[in-house]
Amino acid sequence: MDTVIVTTINLTAIYTLVALGISLTWAGLGFLNMSAGVMYAGAAYGAWLVSTEVSSNVVVVLLGGILTGAVFGAVVCLTVFIPLDGKPNWEIRTLTATLALSFIGTNIYLWKFGPQFKQFEPLFSWLPKFRLGEALLMPSVTGSVIATAVVVTIILVYIGSSRIGLGVRALTQNVEGAALVGIDRRTVAFAILGVSGAFIGLAAVLLGQTFFVEPNSGYVPLIKGLIVAVLGGLGSLRGAVIAAFLVALCEALTLWYFGGSWVLVTLFLLISIVLIIRPRGVAGLLETTRA
């Protein structure tokens, strides 16, 4: 049972990150970023290259992942948001364009890096091991939680205090209002997608501690991130954290009682039930922001 708790904590931290990335894009820019999986794998490869070519220092590798993620966010902004902003059939075209990006990206990784698994050097082995009841709190788990907390805090403080952050918050609340007070959507779009990418990039490095990196490794995080983001209510920060916890708990319990192959089945049941009861997710605050 203590293992369940440890797994839950670890997964909560990481799912929160991916879901925040997806949720922020939805709230601020109004599209579902289906290329999050490719951003994830790209950031993982970026961090892996940094750790093998530059330095395996923990800060450097984490920064490598975060920055690669942010660059990928900027690419999505340049190729999807800016060309399509204000054009007809916005919803289905952004969905298609991000899916196309994910198709392109995955195949480029396959081409350049091959299908082989890449593994990170353990980043957090210098941290001590803790005991939590019967379960051993591995350094990678401790490290993940600390790194997530630090980065999320930094970014939230940045969004809460900087001028760009003000634009981001305005845009997530009211698009017309933001335009009226002279906020440039394009500049803010870069910030939003950059921050999304940073979150996803960090998640990629952290999850890369437990899983291998391969061209398709972004797919499962994309699905899980979407589950969390949708469950929490797209665009809701608090909802994302609560939903990440629910999903992680559900996953850990399923792993413990039924085994890994049932994870998707129970997750899917969970989300179906929640969405049928509350179609806008746990937070359900979207009725007033984005339809």
């Binding site: 939805w26 579902l32 190729t79 060309p83 399509l84 054009k87 007809p88 059939n89 919803e91 289905i92 075209r93 969905l95 298609t96 364009a97 899916l99 196309a100 990006l101 994910s102 198709f103 392109i104 995955t106 195949n107 480029i108 396959l110 081409w111 797919y219 699905i223 979407l226 589950i227 949708v230 797209l234 192959s261 998707l264 089945v265 899917f268 989300i271 179906s272 969405l275 049928i276 179609p279 806008r280 339809a291």
Partner: protein
């Protein structure tokens, strides 16, 4: 009189283009017929739209002058088995027609109803699995698995083994049931939420079919299903001709259903609801009912297509639910233009051609990168797929004076 001679000139140009298009395969190999026909049909479609464009077109109006397009499609469909000297082209065409059948049904849900559903693959795949389960005895076809695992070989609920002509209708009923179940959340969920839920459903299907070794054969899937091709013709050119005409029948039925729904009353209701749910309800449209209907109709046909798939390939595996398959089908629907049967036909043809013609291309990923880039460029530039380009150019020109 002037009108007539203009038309004549138009048809003369088309005839020349057609002859050139027919000549291409003799230079570039037999498969390029798919590509050259696609280019020809695209040009034809563009010229029809351009000529129609003088009067503003809405996607709900029956395309009166598009008969020329469909006559040419029919003619090409008849020519292909005549000029195909090897089973290869026919096999490609059968795959194309199965995809076309699935894509037209997807077009009804995605385009006409405007519901962002990705459940198409799930419906077709589940029905295909049902058809395969009905006609495959896993104990016999996969003896090693039956011996190694703890599978008793007892069939669920004592379902008997049946031939393809029972399996396909049952598959379409299974499709109907699955479609009904999927339509239920569609009533409450909107836009991206539904897109996500249905993508999750496909992934769930993949995960489950990969797990169930005893009934569904696990990762290897089921093989050895009953086929509509007589066993002595299997693999021969005659056998493929047989399959080709069966697939043409499947695609024609799908297109007729598409036509009937899209240009009929149901299509009108669905489009009204798509544009504005509030307006539709004020007008007294029962939005929920209309959406359930479109799911039922399309899922029935998807079920039949899934059954057809199994009885043609004789096998089904969890790969059917792969994300890349889903993306390829989605790209096919989106590239041509989701709101028109011409667009769906052209998009499916185009990507089928790219997929098969560059199959030996090195590195193999380049083909997918190219497909993705193509989809991206078309999505960014054309507002509703390739077929909408003339309308877009016209409105761009008129807005600039």
């Amino acid at each position: 009189m002037l009108k007539f001679s203009e038309d004549l000139k138009h048809y003369a140009v088309l005839a020349v283009v057609f002859v050139v298009a027919m000549a291409v395969p003799s230079v570039f190999g037999v498969l390029s017929i798919l590509g050259s026909m696609m280019v020809f049909l695209l040009l034809l479609s563009w010229s029809i739209s351009w000529r129609q464009g003088a009067k503003p077109s809405t996607d709900g109006k029956p395309d009166r002058s598009s008969w020329l397009f469909w006559v040419m499609v029919g003619a090409i469909a008849m020519i292909i088995p005549l000029i195909a000297g090897t089973p290869f082209l026919l096999a490609t065409m059968v795959a194309f027609l199965i995809y076309l059948s699935m894509n037209t049904m997807w077009g009804l849900v995605l385009g006409t109803a405007g519901l962002q559903s990705f459940a198409t693959v799930a419906v077709a795949g589940v029905s295909a699995y049902a058809a395969a389960y009905l006609s495959v005895n896993i104990g016999e076809s996969n003896a090693a698995l039956a011996a190694g695992g703890d599978c008793s070989g007892i069939r669920l609920f004592g379902i008997p083994l049946v031939e393809w002509w029972i399996a396909i209708p049952v598959a379409s009923v299974v499709g109907l049931v699955v479609g009904f179940l999927i339509s239920l959340p569609a009533i409450r969920l909107r836009g991206s939420y539904f897109a996500f839920l249905t993508i999750g459903l496909v992934e769930l299907c993949r995960a489950y079919t990969g797990q169930d070794k005893c009934n569904l054969g696990g990762a290897g899937g089921l093989f050895g299903a009953s086929s509509f091709i007589p066993s002595d013709l299997m693999g021969s050119l005659t056998g493929y001709r047989y399959a080709y005409f069966a697939a043409v029948l499947l695609a024609v039925v799908s297109l007729l259903i598409y036509w009937k729904v899209n240009y009929g009353r149901l299509g009108l209701l669905l489009r009204t609801a798509r544009e504005s749910e509030a307006v539709a309800e004020v007008l007294g449209v029962d939005v929920v009912r209309a959406r359930i209907w479109v799911f039922l109709i399309s899922s029935w046909m998807l079920g039949a297509a899934g059954g057809f798939y199994v009885s043609y390939y004789k096998t089904i595996s969890p790969n059917f639910f792969n994300f890349s398959t889903l993306l390829l089908l989605f790209a096919m629907v989106m590239i041509g233009g989701i709101n028109s049967p011409r667009g769906i036909l052209l998009g499916t043809m185009l990507l089928m051609f790219v997929d098969r013609f560059f199959v030996d291309f090195s590195p193999p990923e380049a083909r997918f990168v190219f497909t993705g880039l193509f989809l991206l460029v078309v999505t960014l530039l054309a507002s509703a797929g390739l077929v909408s380009v003339p309308d877009q150019i016209r409105s761009r020109l008129s807005s600039h004076g």
